[in-house]
């Protein structure tokens, strides 16, 4: 019975990957096709080129791309749920499961932000990131579905890990946007944006958006760290022990705290803020990848 559910989960994950691939191609088509818009030969003025862009031609591809993203999200969601059913627990027991849930949270954060902001341009990067995550999960991190080790048997697993995964998804989205900011900023410093990039939001919008995402999710990350401390107190006899995972969670917290202070109190904007945001996000990624795989300490649940 539980093996059947594990197979069903795998099929959902594979289907989600196929659908994300379609979404990736649709986004790529949309991005590429916009470049082919006729350029005015005698003018280098950015505004003139914008006027000649033909949005209607790519509208259909854009709709397909987003629809595929939503379908992929649903399939991935089903895959994560089925994985949980197969193991009779929340599907957060090893790194394979963290990765598929993380990919789900990342797509969820993107789709959530898409409802409020025009972020379709970001879909190409999001679909690549999700495909890479799922690909690594399936090829390298996969482990058979199994019950939890005793230390993980706690309601705090649901609370602590879900908070950490959602925070991670939103942090990464903020990171991608900060990276896009830096890229477009360096492009603009050399002259007007190239044709395809003109469809992307202005630098101010990107700057604000990555800040909003971080400010929105920072309390949740604080909660994830504190919930982890409460759990550690009941499982390991101390709420804080500078275990590598704890240390890096702390570093991430400090880095984002510095980012928020730099913006709110000192008034950092633009390039410096984006670099700080990238630095903070990279500490999260380092924690997830390096500490899970090579790290010692008590958080050795990757199953690798």
């Amino acid at each position: 019975m539980s093996q059947t559910w594990a197979y069903i989960s795998n099929y959902f994950i594979y289907s989600a990957m196929a659908v994300y691939t379609l979404s990736f191609f649709a986004h790529a088509y949309e991005t590429a096709w916009a470049v082919r818009a006729p350029q005015s030969s005698d003018s280098t003025d950015g505004n003139l080129i914008t006027k000649t862009l033909d949005y209607t031609r790519t509208e259909k591809a854009a709709r397909i791309a987003t629809a595929m993203m939503i379908l992929g999200f649903i399939l991935l969601f089903a895959g994560v749920i089925a994985r949980g059913i197969s193991a009779h627990r929340v599907p957060w027991g090893n790194m394979y499961e963290f990765s598929i849930t993380g990919a789900l949270a990342f797509t969820g954060a993107y789709l959530g932000a898409l409802r409020k902001y025009d972020l379709r341009w970001l879909g190409l990067l999001v679909s690549i990131a999700v495909l890479l995550t799922l690909g690594t999960a399936v090829a390298v991190l996969y482990r058979p579905s199994a019950p939890l080790v005793p230390a993980l048997k706690s309601t705090w697993l649901v609370i602590h890990v879900s908070a950490a995964i959602i925070s991670g998804g939103v942090f990464l989205l903020a990171n991608v946007i900060a990276a896009a900011y830096l890229y477009l900023d360096s492009m603009e410093s050399k002259g007007p944006r190239t044709v395809w990039a003109q469809r992307l939001p202005s630098l101010e919008v990107l700057d604000q958006l990555s800040y909003r995402l971080v400010a929105f999710v920072f309390p949740l990350w604080t909660f994830a760290v504190i919930a982890g401390a409460i759990w550690a107190e009941s499982a390991w006899g101390r709420y804080w022990g500078w275990d590598p995972k704890e240390t890096w969670a702390f570093i991430t917290w400090v880095a984002y705290a510095a980012y928020l202070h730099a913006r709110v109190t000192i008034g950092w904007r633009g390039r410096r803020a984006a670099w700080l945001c990238l630095f903070a996000g990279s500490t999260f990624l380092f924690n997830y990848i390096y500490v899970n795989i090579y790290g010692t300490g008590k958080h050795t649940y990757s199953g690798l």
């Binding site: 019950p147 005793p150 390991w236 006899g237 590598p244 890096w248 702390f250 400090v254 790290g295």
Partner: protein, 491 residues
């Protein structure tokens, strides 16, 4: 340049004031915050004494010179090192210096009325004006009051303000960090932490000598140990037959909390420790203790009992040392216990499952000087065989015996052992409270908007409405539009 010349005239007080202002500036706080993050990194990459003393010892034996240099910079005790401590102490001084004055200021501001309505409202945001009916101030006052604005009315103008929670939350967040630090401090001054390996069937008495390791906070001493006695009745470990991973550990105890009281049965699991006030007892690790009887050549018992062995892998292949110091010459057994034995072509005897399904003990027998009186502390799991000679090699199943030149050994059976961790941390509730307040404060400060709304009826009979949102927070436009609709009497 002129400032540099003036500097000596500042004097000691001036210099202190200058230094204080620098330390409590936001820029310094930010630099210290980032420094704290960076300073935490080495401790996660280099093994730390607290967590992994074996790895640290490995560093010292592999490259002693480098390790000594690293030790000089406290790289094996990063989180207690002078440089790490100085960063967070400076950060907290800076924090206190910043937050306390702001708290006072905020307290006074929250008791004061909102500032007067500015003269030229048409220069503010979301400005609108229309012909007055005369009752706008009253309507606005009751509407804004029920929306919990703080209101100041002066003649024909009204000034309303809302969103003090933002700064309140912000201050509470920062104050709660201080509370967390206080909690950590109390825990390290008045706390204790100890570990003891106890065989199933044996008793643990809470006195210093029964511990394998024990550390006290600076302001706590041995006589503060609560006088409880724990008997380990039963320990059951369940393992997954596919992955060999543990699924459940259940420990049954009989606890006598104070001398003279009747024993109480308790169950301890990994995530549910046993509690006495601020003292907790945790189940941290487990393994096997083979029970052996060693006899001399005359058949007299020289050693008998369970001896804890140290697990080496997930299948609980465990190593141990059976030392018989009373034999003459001394005898030692360097032994391996395999819960479910198998042979591997390369590694020799291995265990293939952590539960004791087919146990076996492999050992070599050594004769000579165990080195117990050499003054060098020795591991209970290992034997220094440098002054000994090997006189035999054997493997036994439970119930079997082996005779060697000078005596015999019987492998009687085995019992599980558990590692009990006893922790007293009177500061943890302060830290927890700090954590909860930190989150609430953070939510309040990030998700409340501070804004002002003004209304004035001019002598010309025009009503003016305008507002101001601090930190360019969104949403005020809608709020004002609603108010304007209300004031105009439109539905």
């Amino acid at each position: 340049m002129s400032q540099e010349i003036e500097l000596p005239e500042l004097g000691a007080v001036g210099l202190f004031r200058y230094g204080w202002r620098q330390l409590t500036s936001m820029r310094t706080a930010l630099i210290l915050l980032l420094m704290l993050g960076v300073a935490a990194i080495p401790g996660s990459l280099i093994p730390q004494r607290d967590q992994n003393p074996m790895k640290v010892a490995e560093y010292f034996s592999n490259s002693p010179t480098l390790a000594q240099w690293m030790d000089k910079f406290s790289l094996f005790d990063v989180y207690g090192s002078p440089w790490f401590s100085s960063i967070y102490i400076l950060l907290f001084i800076s924090l206190i210096g910043c937050v306390l004055p702001r708290s006072l200021e905020h307290f006074h501001a929250s008791r004061a009325l909102p500032p007067k309505t500015p003269r030229n409202l048409d220069r503010m945001e979301f400005y609108s004006s229309w012909k007055s009916k005369g009752n706008e101030i009253d309507i606005a006052q009751s509407a804004l009051k029920s929306a919990r604005f703080r209101i100041r009315t002066e003649g024909n103008s009204l000034s309303a303000e809302k969103g003090f929670t933002r700064e309140t939350g912000n201050l509470f967040f920062h104050l709660s960090l201080i509370l967390i630090l206080v909690g950590v401090g109390i825990g390290s001054l008045f706390g204790m932490r100890g570990e003891a390996i106890v065989n199933v069937g044996e008793r643990f008495i809470n006195v210093p000598t029964t511990y394998d390791s024990l550390t006290f906070g600076k302001l706590l001493s041995e006589k503060d140990l609560p006088p409880f006695v724990i008997t380990v009745d039963k320990f059951v470990a369940k393992y997954n037959t596919l992955t060999n991973a543990p699924e459940d550990y259940t420990l049954n105890l009989s606890v006598v909390e104070k001398p003279g009281e009747p024993p109480v049965k308790k169950v301890v699991k990994v995530n549910s420790p046993l509690s006495f006030g601020s003292t907790n007892v945790y189940l941290q690790a487990n393994g096997y203790s083979p029970i052996v009887t060693v006899r001399d050549s005359d058949g007299n018992v020289a050693l008998q009992g369970p001896i804890p062995f140290l697990p080496q892998d997930g299948n609980l292949r465990s190593i141990g040392a059976i030392k018989v110091p009373d034999a003459d010459p001394q005898i030692g057994f360097v032994a391996t216990f395999l819960p479910t034995q198998a042979r591997d072509a390369v590694r020799g005897g291995i265990s293939v499952f952590p539960e004791a399904l087919d146990p076996k003990m492999l050992f070599s027998i050594w004769r000579g000087d165990l080195g117990l009186n050499s003054g060098i502390p020795q591991s209970v799991y290992r034997i220094d065989t440098s002054k000994m000679e090997r006189i035999g090699l054997e493997s036994l199943k439970p119930g079997e015996s082996f005779s060697y030149d000078g005596g015999s050994i019987t492998f009687e059976g085995f019992v599980p052992w558990v590692n009990l961790q006893v922790v007293r941390d009177p500061g943890k509730n302060y830290a927890l409270l700090g954590g909860i307040v930190a989150i609430l404060g953070l939510l309040a400060s990030l998700f409340t908007r501070r804004r002002r709304i003004w209304i004035r009826i001019k002598e010309s009979g025009e009503v003016e409405v305008a507002g101001l949102a601090k930190n360019a927070a969104p949403g005020l436009e809608v709020e004002i539009a609603k108010l304007v609709t209300l004031l105009k009497g439109e539905k």
